[in-house]
Amino acid sequence: MTAIGHHTPDAMLAAYAAGSLPHPFAVVIATHVSMCEDCRAALEAHQAAGGVVLDETAGEALSERLRDRVLGHLDDAVEDTPVHARTGIYPAPVVAAMSGRAPRWKALGMGVKQDILSADGEGSLRLLYIPSGQAVPDHGHRGTELTLVLQGSFSDVTGRFGVGDVEVADEDLEHTPTADEGLPCICLAATDAPLRFSALLPRLLQPIFRI
């Protein structure tokens, strides 16, 4: 495996630490950090900065009984929440986003498939499956799009992206990601706004596929 060359922007790690990222982006960041020690160290550095800020704040007076209330719960039996483990090419946060199931691929044509994991006011999060040599339909998008490679690789005008790499595309980028030779390319893609396709037909299909 080649080293990760395209990392997440530092400001996004800071925003993740602070809890300020829309959900779809937060999942991409959590997944990339699970694959990249440099970004994990950078995230923990931001958490250190957050800890210092927390430690330096004045604080609010507590109601008298809060401490006893908390101490009274220390021995409570706690239900084990399911912890999702990495499964194959899917790091734990992606498995959690699928609630532990396998991907449910829906064909988009030309062998391209997707599984929408979430789509709401915060944006959309989906898995994309692109057969080698195949292009994702040319599309622009409003807002920002993050694409993290989980298997194979893709290339577009900005470069080549392999496993663990993240492409950050803003709305000015009209790009045609094409899967490279080898394994089909599987990506986790997040937007903070719906995608729009450049070609007429896919745009008509957009409401149907919710992309």
Partner: protein, 217 residues
């Protein structure tokens, strides 16, 4: 510095003998001497909670962090009563997840900050926040005092850098880490210098990776 060394000596003593000295005594001594706990005291309390389920140490952490957590949570518009529910939830998570605390990578304040963020988002979203895979320290791992001290020193430098910032600049950094800026707004700011602490944390991870490898062999 003497205090840090004392704590580290204590840690090594525990690791070697397997017999912890009375943590309650240690905690009481620390509390008598200082009203504002130093980061290494906080880390010592976290370790006492993690390794010995020490309630006195937990109370010390509570007294320091709970009011700050309440203020932190209220900054995002939560009412005082709801904020206390979240503080309760966060402090119980600190108690229950203590086995994941690793002083080679984080001070107590960093770790508690992260738990608070995750729990608050869980509650707002009514679903568990998706977090990175854990890199937990295997039980029985020998502490590396030099690494623990290094992380504390680097965090101390961050603290000093924050204190040096002028009013408005400092306010922006506080707002960013307390969750009051959008990610676009954060992108437009120049942050604190994180370079050296990042490489220290990276070393802590490498150490952990070696430990995990030994465990598999």
């Amino acid at each position: 510095m003497a205090r840090i060394e004392a704590m580290i000596t204590l840690e090594i003593g525990i690791a070697r003998s397997g017999r912890p000295p009375s943590a309650a005594v240690v905690t009481r001594t620390l509390r008598k001497e200082r009203t504002i706990p130093t980061p290494s005291e906080q880390t010592g309390w976290m370790i006492a909670v993690r390794d010995r389920r020490d309630r006195a140490a937990f109370c010390a952490l509570f007294d320091h962090f709970a009011p700050r957590l309440k203020g932190f949570v209220m900054r995002s518009g939560t009412t005082a009563a709801e904020a206390e529910d979240i503080v309760q939830d966060v402090m119980l998570s600190v108690w229950r997840k203590a086995h994941l605390f690793d002083p080679h990578r984080a001070e107590a304040s960093s770790w508690i900050y992260q738990i608070a963020r995750n729990r608050q988002i869980d509650i707002i979203r009514k679903a568990r926040r998706l977090v990175p895979e854990e890199l937990a320290e295997p039980p029985g791992t020998e502490p590396d005092p030099a690494q623990i001290v290094a992380v504390e020193q680097e965090t101390g430098k961050l603290r000093a850098a924050l204190r040096r910032l002028k009013g408005e600049q400092r306010e922006v950094i506080e707002k960013a880490y307390l969750g009051e800026l959008s990610h676009q707004e954060i992108a437009n700011q120049t942050g604190l210098p994180l370079g050296t602490i990042k490489s220290r944390i990276r070393l802590g991870m490498q150490r952990l990776r070696h430990e995990l490898k030994d465990l598999e062999e």
